[in-house]
Symmetry: C2
Subunit: 325 residues, 2 copies
């Protein structure tokens, strides 16, 4: 593969080239890895940046309907929209989110939209790097908005929040006592809570749920990167395409405030630091996956299980003897 040529095509916004490049960054092969690094290096000089929007919501809240309707609204404004998914569980559950493009039938037919399902890979570290690099590729390809979708599995919200400029939490109407169902940690990441399905019979429940979450958000500690009214909760109906214009206005207002007050840049810098740190840690730990290291670990582990060695003594031997720390 001619990497320079691929890079040039991506810079012209070629969707097929973009798809090929994402496949490249998803590959575990060492030569692909080197090519991916070279490609990203080439593209970074273009310094193109999109609005990165993280979106979390458990199955059933209407995430695909929302992304389709919201994406169509953005495309209607003349914007180019990419949708990526982070789903570390996808290889286990057999199907991946966004795996079925028919879930977003209209959006997937748009010239100015690009939808990419989650790769089937269980390792969250690998998924994180792949997604981060896919976001960079989408930015280089000139997309204005990159939506990064996740179902709330384990740490995946943190992964998505750490690569987003803005984090949305999509909820369905519910009884007031279900407030506790959303983990506090996820609430604390949200810039905007959208209570979806605010239509028909569910409207009163959505109103109540929205008020409950608005109250809960007021109880959270204020973050410096939030203007006065944020984080906030509001209602939308993806089905009836209600509230989407307002939601997009709110997102733009928030991002503009953050840009004007230096938080946008600072957050991106902190995120880059975070990912550097994570990559170093993961690569260090990956030394334990080498065949020789695994064999030594297995053998020492058996001694430890038998009681012939203490965990500490065995760890010492592994580190001093084999890994030469």
């Amino acid at each position: 593969m001619d990497i320079a040529q691929l890079g040039d095509k991506i810079l012209t916004g070629d969707r097929r080239a973009l798809a090929r490049a994402i496949t490249l960054v998803e590959s575990g092969r060492a030569d692909h890895r080197a090519q991916a690094t070279a490609l990203l290096e080439q593209l970074s000089s273009a310094r193109r940046q999109a609005m990165r929007i993280g979106l979390s919501g458990t199955p059933g809240v209407g995430k695909s309907t929302f992304i389709e309707a919201f994406g169509m609204h953005l495309v209607g404004q003349g914007l180019r929209v990419a949708v990526l998914a982070v789903d570390p569980s996808s290889s286990r559950s057999g199907g991946s989110i966004l795996g079925d493009k028919t879930r977003m039938e209209r959006l997937s037919r748009e010239r100015n939209a690009f939808i990419r399902p989650s790769p089937s890979q269980t390792h969250l570290g690998g998924v994180a790097r792949r997604t981060r690099e896919a976001v960079a590729l989408c930015e280089a390809a000139g997309f204005d908005v990159v939506l990064i979708e996740t179902v709330g599995v384990g740490q995946s919200e943190t992964v998505v929040a750490e690569m987003s400029d803005l984090f949305l939490l999509l909820l369905a109407p519910a009884g007031g006592d279900e407030l506790q169902g959303v983990k506090r940690g996820i609430m604390e990441m949200a810039d905007l809570i959208l209570v979806n399905k605010a239509d028909g019979d569910l409207k009163p429940a959505a109103t109540r749920t929205c008020a409950d979450y608005a109250g809960a958000l007021r109880l959270l500690r204020k973050r410096p990167q939030d203007p006065k009214e944020f984080p906030k909760a509001m209602m939308v109906s993806a089905l009836q395409e209600d509230g989407l214009v307002t939601a997009w206005d709110e997102m733009q207002a928030l991002i503009n405030w953050r840009k004007e007050n230096g938080f946008w840049e600072a957050t991106r810098a902190n995120q880059a630091r975070y990912w550097f740190d994570q990559e170093v840690r993961q690569a260090l730990l990956a030394r334990l996956d080498a065949p020789e290291a695994r064999a030594m670990m297995d053998s020492l582990s058996s001694n430890v299980a038998d009681g012939a060695m203490s965990p500490s003594a065995a760890a010492d031997q592994m580190l001093r003897g084999h890994l030469k720390v």
Copy 2:
């Protein structure tokens, strides 16, 4: 310090020697570390084993009152009881759990009891090793039961469960809708749920809470290491010393069943493997704490934050250049 002599004293059950040895394993100094390893090596040949009971409960459930009453009951049976605490937050909150021995006034005066507060150390990895080694020291000193207490901060329950033969969850009576307050992951670790304060006005609420949790436990997936009736929920009143005899009978029955069916031994072997793995990982990552490595990380991190390097490229440089992976 004469380590061989210290070891001999511990084997006679000398509590002052035990306290000194725990201070030794808590030390971060390299020479102390080497002495601690030698001491543990010496003591391991005695192959003494206690019943290790993990105990979790949030502040307010009456944990100290329970430990005092339960400990006094065990001592009354002629057993020797050690109490250790895991509280990774203790240095942050300023005070440590068990820091005030007056919380367990009667038990702390008993010749056959040994109470040790949590060291003030934030790093959970360090706290875990210290506690694991303190447990081994208490076993060598001939204690029959080692109670390992934790407030549910972050991952501390997992740490305690991974070094216990039996895991108790202590709860206070509450309304039925507070069931969700206990994280599912912690429920899944529990062998026995004890609803405390089943006395006076709170008795009806305790009865209801106990029934709620018994129901919730039945919904959990059965683990191979559980006999038919376990995990179970029961009521106690530490204040009135009610139910403690039954609770102890249940614990003994469970442990005996596990011993007879090979699960006790298998669990200890798995725990040893787990701790070996954890120690290797922590030691690998500790390479990043060396002054030179820190300086290199800081410098690369600045480049990454400025956008001059991608996180991946900087990580490559750190690993190939400095850490020589």
